[in-house]
Each structure stands twice: as C-alpha cells, then as structure tokens.
Amino acid sequence: MSLSLTVNGKRRTSAADPVTPLVDVLREEFHLTGAKPVCREGFCGACMVLLDDKPTPSCLMPASLAQGCEIRTVEGLGAGDTLNTIQQALEACDAVQCGMCFPGMVVTLTHFLTTSPRATRDDIRAALTGNICRCTGYERIVDAALTALAKE
C-alpha cells in the first residue's frame, strides 16, 4: 500500500516500506535534498524538517507516521523566491559555511523564531543543541538569529 504524504503543501505518494526514514523518501523519491542524512541518530540535526510546525529529525521518523502531517522541508520555508527572516539574516551575517548543517539550522531556527520572540543568546544556543555545525560557525549563526529576532 502506498504512503500519502503532504510535503511543502503538495500531496505526494511513495511506495517505500512504512518504516523507511522520512529523510530517505524526501531525498531519493521526491528529490528534496536539503535535508541531509548525516548521523542517522538524531544527534546532528542535518535532516531536520518541520512536521506540523515542530522540528523533527527526519532520520528517526518512519515515513508512514508522517502521513496526515504537514511536512515542510528547507525548500518550502521561503515564499516563492523570497527568503524567510532567518534565511535573510544568515545571509546578511555571512553565517553560511560548508552548507551541510545549514538546512537543519534554518528549519530549527525558523520554528524557534516563531515560538520564542524574546529569546536570549543562551536560549538560542540551547535551541540549537541538536544542530551540529562541523565548521564550528556557531557564533555567527547565533548572531543571525538575534538579528532576525530584532527585526520581528
């Protein structure tokens, strides 16, 4: 039986095994390669997507359990050609380095900005506990989040 998924507002179907990690369906079948399967343990956050607006490591989410949820990947966060607030701030702060962790960072921070409008630097650091940057570029990322918060 095929799986029915709603990804970035579009209905998609997949014939994957129900326990297939969502990240594999997103990447291999739907060619949404923003989410990265890096650690596959929920530690690194590179595969983070929004599931009903909650940051969720898609490596640990069986595709079948994502049915009925609104899945948003990094590809679906902006409005058309316009970057969202945190994407703009990350670009303005020159925070992007190798790009491996960045889709996950953007997903986590997109959610965080909407739920924690008065966040401090420490709050942002705590929120990013599950997003590891191997380039260790954390300070500019946190600066960008503070910049984005100041604009909202």
Binding site: M1, V19, T20, R40, P55, M61, A126
Partner: protein
C-alpha cells in the same frame, strides 16, 4: 542502501487508535511485531546492526498513554508521554526535580519532543537512559498490560524482566509516589549538552529539619550496562547530616563496587571515577546550595 531503495514495501505499520487495539494487534503479530512509541531507539536499529521487526504498532496516538495525572499521593504517567511533555508537567513540582531534569536535559529539544518515557524504560540495551535512574530513586511502580489485564510491579522488577515480556505485553503506565523528598539528577555528558552522559547520579533523600538523612534512594545510570540502586551509599548516608563533600567522600570509598562499561566514548574506569563528583553535585542540588 536505504530501506526506500530496497523495492517493494514488506513491513506494516499499524497506528493503534486504542490500547485494546494495540494489545490485540501486538498479540496477533507475536515475535514478528513490536510496539513503536517515539521511535528514537528503534529507528537506529540498523546502526546497531540489529534487524527491524516486520510489523510495528504505533502507540503514540493512544489517548490514555499520553496523559499525565498529578494526584495528591502519586503522579501517573502514560508510557507514551514524551520527555518534553513530562518536563513541562513537572515544572512546579520540586519533589520531582530529579525526573524533570532527567527528562528535560537528555538528548536535544527535537529528540525530547519525540522520545517517550516508556521507550526509555523499555530499551533494555540503552545503558545511558536518563529516566531510568531517576525513576529508580523515586520508588516507582509500573503497569504492564496485556489482553488478560494489568499487572503493577516495582520498577526494579520491571528492569529485571523487561527483556523477557511476551509480545502481547506492553508497558502502559508509570506511577511515581509523592514523597516530598529532596531530589536531584546529576549527569556528565562529554559536551555540555546533546550527547549521552558518561555517568548519572539520581538521588532522593528524606531529611529532618536539621538536614539529617532519614532515608535515601540513590541510583546510578550509564556506568554499567543497566542502571541500578547504590544501596551501600544509601545506608551509609542515613543518620548523617546531608553534606555534599561528605557524601562525595563516602561515595569515593564505596565506588569500587561498580565496574564501568567499555565504549568508544570513554574508558570504563572513567565512568566510575566521576561518580563521587556527581554525588557531590547531586547532593548540593538537592540541598539547593
């Protein structure tokens, strides 16, 4: 090769609408099936070179398993309550500081929103589970359900039996008595947050107005393969004034009863060596100093 590239779907994933439906289905699947709560342990089975089951029964949407009831004598926690939900529910209950810290500081925010307390207790090969020592020190009882009814047992008994339950038996509820004791949870991850703790000390102490210990329950996690009580330390503290430095000294004298587990993260001896320091921190936290 990923599961999605292996061709036609072979497994099944049943989202149980009720506990009765879950128990029936688990019973029918037998050894080919298993309950699926948060999935943060099961989904990593391939990394541990363990096979996935053919059939899973998702229990995360069963209403009675996702409820926390805070009573005057005890709190009852559904087995599919997430770490995040548990942390939020315990915010204003200082006697459960140990459990709030265990649930609220493990892993990272996204994992805490997925991982369940029942999964934490049931993953018998997960040595670094934070909630296990916390619940051990709180004198917890758990309820195991099957088609034939419910059985309430101590958490100590559950931990000994958890890998032997029949396929149709499911951990459904955790019952923690309200004692009014001072409690604390001290853990040492290699980084400040986000990874597994090297060692965990969970502590619950009943003290008189002069801080003399009347009763103590202390549990150690992540040091050995399974969490367990540190009964010699509990006995040694009774009758003494609770003092972080003294507790650490006593712990140092008694720590040789532990045999640390080997892992790639740290050598076995290190897990034992840090215990006195963690006892000191837990004691200080319980005293609020």
């Amino acid at each position: 090769m990923t599961a999605s590239s292996q061709g036609e779907a072979t497994g099944t994933f049943y989202v149980a609408p009720s506990l009765a439906a879950a128990l029936d289905t688990l019973n029918d699947y037998g050894p080919d099936g298993a309950a699926f709560a948060g999935g943060t342990w099961i989904m990593r089975a391939p990394i541990r070179h363990q096979p996935l089951k053919t059939h899973y029964v998702a229990i995360g949407k069963i209403p009675e398993l996702t409820v926390i009831r805070i009573g005057t004598d005890a709190i009852e926690i559904g087995a599919a309550v997430t770490h995040a939900a548990l942390t939020a529910a315990l915010t204003d209950l200082p006697e459960f500081a140990v459990l709030a810290a265990a649930a609220g500081r493990s892993a990272n925010p996204a994992i805490r929103a997925m991982a369940t307390i029942g999964g934490n207790l049931s993953a018998s090969d997960f040595s670094a589970a934070d909630c296990v020592p916390a619940l051990l020190c709180l004198d917890t009882q758990v309820e195991v359900s099957s088609r034939d009814g419910h059985e309430r047992i101590s958490i100590d008994a559950f931990l000994k039996r958890r890998s032997t339950f029949a396929p149709g038996q499911l951990l459904t509820k955790i019952v923690v008595p309200r004692s009014g004791h001072k409690t604390a949870h001290s853990r040492l991850p290699l980084r400040k947050a986000g990874d597994y703790p090297v060692a965990i000390v969970s502590l619950s102490v009943d003290v008189d107005p002069t801080n003399q210990v009347r009763k103590a329950r202390i549990a150690i996690g992540s040091v050995e393969m399974a969490a367990r009580r540190w009964e010699r330390l509990e006995t040694a503290l009774v009758g003494r004034v609770l003092d972080p430095a003294l507790a650490a000294d006593i712990a140092a004298d008694l720590a040789d009863e532990f045999t640390g587990r080997e892992s790639v993260e740290v050598p076995a001896w290190y897990r034992v060596r840090v215990l006195p320091g963690l006892v000191r921190r837990a004691t200080a936290a319980a005293l609020g100093v």
